[in-house]
């Protein structure tokens, strides 16, 4: 790279260019290396944040072409787990760089057929409208219940279309999907406020019961919980994949649906969604109609654990005599810097023994749809995570992100382990259910 570049940004053009000031804030100190999962696995520096920033700079300065295969493969291999951001002394917003770089790749040339197919189907159709997500999820439910799943499995059809690994990650569908606008939970006891719950895409179908658990825990602590209609997917998967325009459309819809002044907070119980929604201001920074709205919206987005820890629990949960270990979701620990609150909530449960695992905050390899596209690296990281989690001897692995939960469940199932993976809110809800059993009529 030239030291006297006079023509920066030669390789990028159009919207969503990696911000120059973010690139320049990197002084390549190397503090990001040890926390990067792909660097830890490969030990090669091009697969580290410092390496990827070099590649982005090289394209920006015309040193490498945007179609360079190493540039493209490294942008894809990055989990966007943001562990590097959490330790960066200079506060480099690496996620913005890699997401912009991906958007540039998408803009500048066609994707390989398989990736394009996965993205097009997965995002625009499934995530574009909650109804489509539910329809697909209903299909998945029928598919599983009818025995078709095993029939298809036997034919190897999923493998033939290149998605054999996806089968293991398929979530078990819940019987009752959560439909925005149809359910609400009034505060129990003295009312402390009203919150809106993000229903999301996969959460509202495969994890509908986690939503209900979240709502019951919030209601129990004095909050009216509503699931406002007309909301939808947070857009994270689209943005991470470089489909920024699609992400922006989804973001605007959520700002319109959830941004009303009647809500004290917008509660999110999926780490990836919360992180994405807290960055709507960056995503919509160039949109004159939404830039300001997005800036005020992000102030009120709260992870459920963050909100509860801040508000304080009104009532002590009931006892749960289990050994649990907590796995930090990247988009909670690194992107939102929330690590203490979930642990505080778990420690608030009497008789629950919380045992820490090694490398709790090293990505499990799920990373949105990363585990569908980068199967080898995702598999290595999954094994590393399951090794650490099971080494604690815990009966339950607690997390706060659906992707991590599916990834770890798949890893445990492959080993025939009976260790359970549960959402933090599910565990809290169970603990509160104990209170009811102990004091009937409470």
């Amino acid at each position: 790279m030239s030291t006297t570049t006079t023509q920066p940004r030669r390789g990028f053009s159009g919207p969503d260019q990696p911000p120059e000031d973010v690139m320049r804030a990197c002084v390549h100190c190397g503090f990001c290396l040890p926390v990067c999962p792909t660097y830890r696995e490969t030990h090669r520096e091009r697969s580290s944040p410092r390496g990827r920033i070099w590649l982005i700079k090289a394209v920006s300065e015309g040193e490498l072409d945007i179609s360079d295969p190493v540039f493209k493969s490294e942008m894809s291999l990055c989990l966007n787990c943001r562990a590097c951001e959490a330790v960066c002394p200079s506060g480099v917003q690496y996620g913005e760089l890699v997401e912009s770089a991906r958007a540039q790749i998408v803009q500048h040339e066609p994707q390989p057929a398989s990736a394009r197919a996965a993205k097009a189907v997965g995002m625009k159709l499934l995530l574009g409208s909650p109804r489509a997500t539910r329809a697909a999820s209903y299909g998945a439910k029928v598919y599983a219940k009818s025995g078709l799943g095993s029939a298809v499995g036997a034919t190897g059809l999923m493998s033939k279309i290149g998605l054999g690994h996806a089968e293991a990650l398929r979530p078990a569908m819940q019987d009752e999907f959560l439909v925005a606008g149809r359910e609400s939970w009034p505060a129990i006891g003295s009312r402390r406020g009203t919150v809106a719950l993000l229903a999301g895409c996969v959460m509202s179908t495969a994890f509908a019961e986690v939503h209900r658990a979240t709502a019951r825990v919030l209601a129990r602590n004095g909050f009216d919980v509503v699931v406002p209609p007309n909301q939808g997917c947070c857009g994270a998967l689209s943005v991470h994949a470089g489909e920024a325009d699609h992400g922006r459309a989804l973001a605007k819809r959520n700002i319109d649906a959830l941004g009303g002044p009647e809500f004290d907070a917008i509660i999110v119980n999926a780490a990836g969604c919360g992180a994405a929604m807290k960055e709507y201001d960056f995503l919509l920074r160039e949109d004159p109609a939404y830039a300001d709205k997005a800036a005020t919206f992000v102030e009120r987005v709260k992870d459920a654990s963050e909100f509860l820890a801040e508000a304080g629990l009104v009532e002590t949960p009931g006892a749960l005599p289990i050994t649990a270990t907590y796995q930090d979701a990247c988009h909670l620990a690194h992107a939102q810097r929330i690590t203490k609150q979930p642990r505080e909530l778990l420690r608030a449960i009497p008789e629950l023994d919380l045992v820490e695992m090694s490398e709790s905050d090293l990505c499990c390899g799920s990373a949105g749809i990363y585990n569908l596209l980068q199967t080898e690296m995702a598999g290595q990281l999954r094994e590393r995570k399951v090794d650490h989690a099971t080494a604690t001897g815990a009966a339950v692995i607690v997390s706060a992100n659906p992707g991590c939960m599916l990834q770890m469940r798949a890893g445990l199932a492959a080993r025939g382990s009976d260790v359970q993976v549960e959402h933090l809110m599910t565990i809290l809800d169970r603990a509160y259910a104990q209170v009811e059993q102990e004091t009937p009529g409470a």
Partner: protein, 477 residues
């Protein structure tokens, strides 16, 4: 060093035959990041090795060294690339041995208190590994989360706790080294005393100019029972400097005594927010360690001394977390400079502790004379200054001013009885400045030692010694 395309192909094929294609990096995009370490490319320049190789064993390193020697190619080592003097930059091309896969902690012996590690082990990973057994590895450069022990050995790195515990050299018992021709040598060993010439001491701090360290036996220490962390603010760097001398003069030896100025605090707070007071002109971060009762008594005494010597506020870290955050802020300070300017140049000088107030005055004068922002964050207890000159390399004419200011600063520190480098190595940033400290006779003797182990000048050539190195000692054959 020029090399033809045909020769490159032969060398790369030979390296691949030893390591496999995955661990020989020779493509443009893959090599790019190996052009950098943590020093500033505006000063080191942009240099690309012919290949970067990632061996896993000593035997593989020896094979690589033999291939390099056979083709008359330079051989250099790189760990995590956190160096601040360009020591791991391939200024003359050649083969770069990247030690990141050599990351095994081979042995831990708690009774004899040593650990055997490969060079790619990350400094903090060793202490994290030892912590459950109540031990740690004392040298803690600020980059300890990322830097490798191999790099620490090469640079004889220091860190905040060197004040009490000494630098890397004081913690090394033995080394395994691959010499430039591929011979594997072992110096020293686990026992505390080793007869004969101290070749371990010769290798430590030699920045891979004598060979590549492939294994190290290092001392490990029991964790102190208690640590106490104090933060004091002062109205000026000079006042804070006087308080440092007064503390040491009282007979107390803190485990660390760090000073930071307002510029540094603003960078840390903007970058990560560690809770330092933004309005203070200077702060001292003092750590005491040892038995709980002693730490309590010393903390009170240090607080008294600091108050008597102008401390405006004094606070004690109440929890381990609070102390940890203050330390994280201190250790992240260099990287945080990216918040203030896109480039910085580190001058790693040392002065006798008693000269600190004068040195601070001189740094301020140089900043004003050259119209530069200079941040100060350093190991005050042992007088190891780190004036960081902040700049934007895109500003016309800036490089000359930065380098001139740096030279003047080094000369001032030598005049005060100090040295031009404390712990970050010489590399290619300060090799010519070494002439400010050593005579031609001194260089001649160093050159003879270098050539005894590396007669063809293949081991990290162009580093440490001044650029006119060829004229010292015996002529090259």
């Amino acid at each position: 060093m020029t090399i033809t395309t045909d020769q490159s192909t032969v060398v790369i094929d030979a390296l691949r035959a030893v390591l496999g294609a995955d661990y020989v990096v020779s493509d443009r995009a893959g090599l790019g990041v190996y052009e950098l370490d943590a020093s500033d490319e505006a000063i080191t320049g942009i240099h690309r090795p012919l290949a970067a190789v990632l061996p896993e064993t000593t035997e593989e390193v020896a094979e690589v060294a033999r291939i390099a020697a056979e083709h008359d190619l330079p051989l250099l080592a790189r760990g995590s690339g956190t160096g601040l003097a360009g020591g791991a930059i391939a200024t003359q091309g050649g083969v770069m041995v990247v030690t990141t896969r050599m990351n095994r902690i081979v042995e831990v012996n708690l009774i004899d208190r040593y650990a055997v590690v490969q060079p790619g082990v990350v400094n903090l990973d060793l202490s994290t590994h030892l912590a459950p057994q109540g031990f740690y590895y004392a040298p803690d450069p600020s980059s300890q989360r990322a830097c490798s022990i191999g790099g620490n050995l090469g640079n004889n790195s220091g860190g905040p706790h060197c004040l009490k515990y000494g630098v890397t050299n004081n913690h090394v018992l033995g080394l395994e080294v691959v010499l430039p021709g591929g011979e594997v040598c072992r110096f020293g060993g686990p026992s505390a005393e080793n007869p004969g010439h101290d070749l371990t001491g010769l290798i430590v701090g030699s920045e891979a100019t004598l060979g590549i360290i492939t294994s190290a036996t290092v001392r490990i220490l029991p964790l102190p029972e208690e640590k106490g962390v104090l933060l004091a603010t002062f109205e000026s760097m000079e006042t804070a400097s006087r308080a440092v001398s007064a503390t040491i003069a009282d007979g107390i030896l803190p485990s660390a005594l760090e000073m930071m100025d307002k510029v540094t605090i603003s960078a840390i707070e903007a970058g990560i927010g560690a809770g330092y007071p933004r309005d203070a002109e200077a702060v001292l971060l003092v750590e005491l360690d040892g038995p709980t009762q002693t730490v309590g008594e010393e903390r009170e005494r240090v607080a008294e001394i600091l108050s008597e010597h102008g401390a405006m506020t004094l606070s004690v870290a109440e929890t381990a977390e609070e102390a940890e955050l203050l330390w994280w802020g201190r250790k992240a300070a260099f990287g945080a400079m990216g918040r203030l300017a896109p480039n910085y140049h580190l001058t790693d000088t040392v002065v006798p502790r008693s000269k600190l107030p004068e040195a601070m005055q001189l740094v301020a004068e140089v900043a004003s004379d050259y119209d530069l922002i200079i941040a100060n964050v350093f190991h005050a207890g042992d007088g190891n200054l780190h004036p960081l000159i902040l700049f934007d390399r895109k500003e016309p004419g800036i490089m000359e001013r930065v380098l001139d200011a740096s030279s003047v600063l080094m000369q001032h520190c030598i005049d005060l009885g100090g040295a031009i480098s404390g712990e970050h190595g010489i590399g290619i940033e300060k090799n010519d400045a070494l002439t400010l400290m050593y005579s031609d006779i001194d260089f001649g003797e160093m050159a003879r030692v270098k050539r005894a182990l590396d007669p063809r000048d293949l081991a990290n050539p162009g580093k440490v010694f001044p650029s006119n190195f060829d004229r010292f000692g015996e002529p090259l054959d």
